[in-house]
């Protein structure tokens, strides 16, 4: 029996210095990280082979899988953007020294170096630092404005001292690049706003089209079903519940978002409609007021009584005036004789009248107009 020593898979870790290539490679090969780094630097000095190898591995080696307690974002220890800005600053110094009399041979490579390193700094800050929790917004703003300041300063400086043709072209390019870096974030923000707005508009148009279609076909059909099935049948109740849900979805924007008393009453009514053969019409007038628990509970009890003992059509009317809140619940059933059920039916006495009295309101139960059915009137004075 032989033991096979399995190598750790080649993966880039998520807490890294630059790209995580050396650390990953060290783990994979079983070397120390220092040794791989040294090797990389030596290779880099041999005509840049190390840099190419590094970039190649960086592009192809996948990230290590996320551990549950670890942040999914890659965190980089080395402030590469700042290092690139530093290189750009060095190049600017070289350009400046040429202007005060040093050898002009260095101007073109210095301008090229400046362009490359400041572009690299901004690219790094946009591509990596934006997602890195260790880098603040101020840091990337600093990187961007420093880079463009260096570009603009050396570009304008070179143009001022009668440069050679190639340097003049480079300098103009540098000025353009510097300006672009300054305004780029704003342009990007504008563009993404525009795209977001367009997406929203398209989505809204689609929604409106869908709503119009549903309104024209499905709502009509649901109305027809209720019409044909009779208002208190099972089928009609299901159709009505569906209609209400669909309507809520279609006209979501029209309804007040905060739960006010009328919305809560409608909710209670909808729930009762599902359980009993009854159709409850809730009409609300006056200012929107927040729900009062006792009032809702008492109305619920009144609606339940109407649904259980009367069924058919039940009307609920809510009126909020500056002086108080009134709710009428009216059914068209056989009616209740309050004297006869004085003691045995706790429902009305306790859950409606008792509740209202305890919060300082009042409740009256009387036969409906013309002697048909029952009408419950709840009243609550406005709070002073």
């Amino acid at each position: 029996m032989t033991t096979v020593a399995l190598r750790v898979e080649l993966r880039r870790p998520r807490r890294v210095v630059v790209g995580g290539v050396c650390a990953g490679l060290a783990l994979h090969l079983g070397w120390t990280t220092g040794r791989t780094r040294l090797l990389a630097i030596v290779l880099a000095l041999l005509g840049g082979a190390g840099i190419l190898l590094y970039l190649w591995l960086w592009a192809l080696v996948p990230l290590a899988p996320t551990e549950s307690d670890d942040s999914a974002q890659v965190q980089r220890a080395a402030p590469m953007a700042a290092i690139f800005v530093g290189i750009a600053a060095l190049c600017t110094l070289v350009v400046g020294s040429v202007m005060v009399g040093a050898s002009p041979v260095l101007v073109t490579p210095a301008l090229l170096g400046l362009t490359l390193s400041s572009a690299a700094a901004v690219a790094w800050s946009l591509a990596f630092d934006r997602h890195d929790p260790n880098r603040s917004r101020g840091y990337s703003v600093g990187v961007r404005s420093l880079s463009s300041a260096l570009l603009l300063a050396s570009g304008v400086g070179v143009l001022l001292v009668r440069p050679t043709a190639i340097n003049a072209v480079l300098a103009v390019g540098i000025v353009v690049l510097g300006t672009a870096l300054l305004i780029a974030p704003r342009v990007v923000a504008l563009w993404s706003d525009l795209m977001a707005e367009r997406t929203t508009r398209v989505r809204e148009e689609q929604r409106a089209e869908l709503a119009a279609h549903l309104h024209d076909s499905v709502l009509q059909t649901l109305a027809l079903i209720q019409n044909r099935a009779g208002s208190s049948s099972e089928v009609a109740r299901i159709a009505r519940a569906q209609e209400r849900e669909l309507r809520d979805w279609l006209f979501l924007g029209d309804a007040p978002i905060a739960a006010d008393l009328s919305a809560e009453l409608r909710e209670v009514a909808a729930a009762i409609e599902l359980d009993y053969a009854v159709r409850i019409e809730v009409v609300a007038t006056g200012e929107s007021v927040p729900g009062v628990a006792a009032l809702i509970a008492a109305s619920r009890e009144a609606m339940l009584n109407a649904a259980k003992h009367a069924g058919g059509e039940v009307s609920v009317y809510l009126e909020t005036t500056p002086s108080g809140i009134d709710i009428w619940v009216r059914d068209r059933g056989a009616g209740v004789d309050l004297e006869a059920l004085a003691s045995d039916r706790l429902g009305i006495r306790e859950s409606i009248m008792g509740r209202m009295t305890r919060v300082g309101g009042s409740a009256t139960v009387r036969p409906g107009a013309g002697g048909t059915g029952t009408e419950v009137h709840l009243h609550l004075e406005a709070q002073q």
């Binding site: 309104h215 059909t221 109305a223 027809l224 009779g230 006209f251 009409v283 009428w328 013309g370 009408e375």
Partner: protein
């Protein structure tokens, strides 16, 4: 016998309603679009037009456009709006164009027949929800009250009482009993409110209706 034309773009709904209406109503014809409806009403001159609020065709104005196009017939032909929703949003446009009332499409054949009879005899048909909307729109709940009878922008005390009872689900007869007045008086109050609803330039009504492109 009341003669009726049904205007609705859904043929299933038209035939269903036609079968459900009781013997006191004679259906003369059906139309599915604004243009068809205008032509048919001008030709047949029914007592009552059962008119869907949402209709295709014409300039896109739906039921309200049919009424406006038939405005010179309004003295003899009466319009009863049918709406799939019970929201005042759908209804105020047709009422202001000249409809004498509205009912929801979920109403039974008997209810529609009763409403047709009421409209044919010159009365207005108010649902509890429309009454609630009227109370809000005219500021009646907040305590505003007309000082003279011909004021268009506010309700009189009596009109307010009648509207409140209708909002509570009372039939005209029950309103009459409760307020110790005759049914005829109730009907005239309701008609007066309907007239105010149609003619008032009250800010809430107009702003509200223009916001929903009803005017």
């Amino acid at each position: 016998m009341t003669t009726v034309v049904i205007v609705d773009d859904h043929s299933i709904f038209r035939s269903g309603l036609r079968a459900d209406l009781d013997a006191s109503v004679a259906v003369l014809g059906e139309a599915a679009t604004v243009d068809e409806a205008v032509a048919l009403i001008a030709r047949l001159r029914p007592d009552v037009v059962l008119l869907d609020v949402h209709l295709p065709g014409g300039a896109g104005g739906g039921g309200a456009e049919v009424i406006r196009a038939s405005s010179e017939l309004l003295t003899s032909v009466r319009f009863l709006a049918l709406s799939v929703s019970d929201s005042a949003a759908d209804v105020v446009g047709v009422i202001r164009a000249g409809a004498r009332g509205y009912i929801t499409k979920g109403s039974s054949g008997a209810e529609v027949s009763r409403a047709v009879a009421a409209v044919a005899s010159g009365d207005a048909v108010f649902s509890p929800r429309l009454a609630g909307f009227v109370l809000d729109a005219f500021g009646a709940v907040a305590g505003e009250q007309a000082s003279t009878d011909d004021e268009l922008d506010r309700l009189s005390a009596r009109e307010r009482e009648v509207m409140r009872l209708i909002a509570r689900g009372y039939a005209y007869k029950e309103v009459a009993t409760d307020l110790f007045i005759s049914i005829k008086t109730v009907e005239s109050h309701v008609s007066a409110v309907l007239r105010k609803l149609q003619l008032s330039s009250r800010h809430e009504l107009t702003v509200w209706a223009t916001a929903r492109k009803l005017l």
